[in-house]
């Protein structure tokens, strides 16, 4: 198996992040570094990637696994190039998030939790993202798409498809 490693740019960032915490507290850097890792390695955290992070932070692999499995933004399985996350909590539901989810399911021809056959889109529902005043909304990578209508969703999906974009929280 090919050895995985961070690009030089990411490694510089990782080292910068570690320095934010006091001596001997490098484990504090775990969450931010997992974000860097997920962005670098195709949007998900494989065991090999988690082991790499553990070795950099000089902690046990289990300390990384237990954290990665706790937080909902870390994907422990491969996802599509674009992860579309639609908020479905009360305030968004009041303004029509059910319609947005249904529209996306029909448009992408997948159910929530699934990935399109071409590997382009994964559709997920999430809980309140702090955009209730501009509901309904979805997040794709770092970007929030707010005050959604089905037309806006169509345009977004077309844009992402034609750009063949990969979503990332880090951009």
């Amino acid at each position: 198996m090919e050895e995985i490693k961070f690009s030089e740019k990411s490694l510089a960032l990782v080292n910068k992040i570690i320095k934010r915490y006091p001596e001997g507290r490098q484990k504090s850097a775990l969450l931010p570094i997992l974000h860097v890792a997920q962005a670098e390695f195709d949007g998900w955290l494989s065991p090999a990637v988690m082991d790499l992070v553990a070795s950099i932070l000089k902690i046990k692999p289990i300390e990384v696994y237990e954290v990665a499995s706790f937080y909902s933004m870390y994907n422990l399985e491969p996802v599509g190039k674009c992860l579309i996350e639609v908020c479905q909590t009360g305030p968004c539901w009041l303004r029509g998030s059910d319609d947005i989810v249904e529209h996306l399911q029909n448009k992408l021809n997948i159910k929530v939790g699934e990935t399109t056959a071409d590997g382009m889109f994964t559709l997920k529902t999430v809980e309140c993202l702090g955009s209730c005043g501009t509901a309904p909304m979805l997040q794709c990578g770092a970007k929030f798409h707010e005050n959604l209508t089905t037309e806006k969703v169509d345009a977004l999906v077309e844009d992402l498809r034609s750009a063949n974009a990969r979503s990332s929280y880090m951009r």
Binding site: H35, F70, G90, P91, W93, L94, D98, E127, K143, Y169
Partner: protein, 454 residues
């Protein structure tokens, strides 16, 4: 119209940059504090202001600061809680995105008061684009000499960092936040010890909400007494309210505490009334965790007094007929909203977000979600309604952290005030089979519907 202490300059073009922020009076509190005040004098002003924590619990900020163990040999920390994940709350995001230097200024002035040499802003991972905004602003503040070694030539030095979480509401609870900041799962700690004694890395720590820390800026600039002149009684100053749901003008409003609830909902300066000319059915006044109130009780207390936007007035009547100001997440429901479905989304949320340490919370939130799902989808039994009340009661007060209570209160209050709507779901399963049932045929309980111009 109230004074805008936090948002007066928020729409000035370029206010997110250091230069524009500084030209508009920014960083004055840092100059004043570091050059003319002792740390204890800063804390004293915050005490005098009566400022209460804006993250939800409303604990007096000055008192919290004075509890910080200053005798410890360990370093002290100020940690900003920017986890903002309480459904219905989006005010911290607004401040950080539009006027990031205000939070940074408050962090510097606050850290000085507490004697912290390193401080962190813990922000929910989903707000990653705001991490970039804050980091850019922090870089500018370093370059201008407001962060780093010997700030403004004084002996005081401070480093400030932004730390992203990764999707977990529970990390808003302050001890879970500290665990997460240490690189662990967000499991709340048993208290005591409190963070003021053993917080981050077991060192004395103050955790404050974004809005609380931002409010330190006008308090130091204008004096605590001036700040305390705004508001009523123990509810001093201004508060950011995140308004969402079935209103004409959702958004963030900075109000003087003490504003009548009715004015907040119906005035064009604020929510602008209920959308589509409909009637108001209910309000959740302080984020999803606080009790829901029917329209009649949100506008007037059970005693018939006008309800005000203060900690005390919203709580009037206790859990029987009152609610809480909480985080200021103000969610409005019109007559077509289904209280059961809304509650089901909340129960699903709490189940999803329970950290799983305590069985009443872990199991209870799951049960409540399942039972509510079945009632909402027309498969409920009459006995389910009391079952929900019973489960909620068994969670409340029996858990390590308040997430358990936060999951229980919405259930207990929705059934207390809207029991007939739950019964309707059980009695007429065919009518609720369409998810939009009350949009087709609103469920009316005239006594609780607020009559607007009708």
């Amino acid at each position: 119209m109230g004074k805008k202490l936090l948002t007066a300059n928020i729409n000035i073009p370029g206010i997110e940059t250091f230069d524009v922020y500084r030209k508009n009076g920014g960083y004055a509190s840092v100059e004043k504090a570091l050059k003319t005040m002792t740390p204890d004098e800063v804390t004293e002003e915050v005490k005098k202001s009566g400022l209460r924590g804006r993250g939800g619990a409303g604990f007096p900020a000055g008192m919290k600061w004075s509890f910080l163990d200053r005798k410890s040999e360990k370093p002290r920390y100020l940690v900003c809680n920017a986890d903002e994940s309480e459904p219905g709350t989006f005010k911290d995001r607004y401040l950080m995105e539009k006027i990031p230097h205000l939070l940074i200024e408050g962090m510097i002035t606050g850290s000085y008061a507490l004697g912290a040499r390193t401080s962190y802003i813990y922000i929910r991972g989903e707000y990653m684009y705001i991490v970039r905004i804050l980091e850019k602003a922090i870089e500018e503040a370093y370059a201008a000499g407001f962060l780093g070694q010997n700030i403004l030539g004084t002996p005081y030095s401070l480093d400030l960092y932004v730390h992203p979480g990764a999707g977990a509401y529970i990390c808003g609870e302050e001890t879970a936040l500290l665990e997460s900041l240490e690189g662990k799962r967000g499991n709340p700690r048993l208290k005591p010890p409190f963070p003021a004694v053993a917080g981050l890395y077991a060192a004395p720590t103050v955790v404050n909400n974004v809005e609380t820390i931002a409010a330190v800026v006008p308090i130091v600039n204008g004096g605590g007494d001036e700040y305390a002149k705004i508001g009523i009684g123990k509810s001093t100053g201004t508060k950011l309210i995140s308004a969402s749901g079935h209103i004409n003008k959702p958004g963030i409003y900075e109000i003087d505490l003490g504003l009548p609830v009715e004015e907040f909902i119906y005035s064009d300066e604020y929510c602008g009334g209920i959308w589509k000319g409909r009637k108001m059915k209910a309000v959740v006044a302080g984020g999803s965790s606080v009790p829901i109130l029917p329209a009649d009780l949100i506008l007037k207390t059970a005693k018939g007094e006008q309800r005000l936007m203060t900690y005390e007035s919203l709580a009037d009547g206790g859990f029987v007929s009152g609610t809480m100001l909480g985080s200021g997440g103000f969610i409005v429901y019109d007559e077509t909203a289904c209280i059961v479905r809304n509650l089901w989304t909340f129960a699903r949320f709490y189940h999803h977000e329970s950290c799983g340490q305590c069985s009443p919370c872990r199991e209870g939130t799951g049960w409540m979600e399942k039972v509510l799902h079945r009632i909402e989808h027309g498969h409920g039994h009459m006995s389910d309604i009391d079952l929900l009340v019973d489960v909620a009661k068994k969670i409340e007060g029996n858990t390590i952290c308040p997430l358990g209570d936060a999951a229980a209160w919405p259930v207990a209050s929705a059934i207390r005030h809207f029991r007939e709507e739950f019964e309707y779901h059980v009695k007429y399963p065919e009518k609720v089979s369409n998810p939009k049932h009350f949009e087709i045929e609103p469920f009316r309980s005239e006594k609780k519907l607020e009559a607007v111009g009708a």
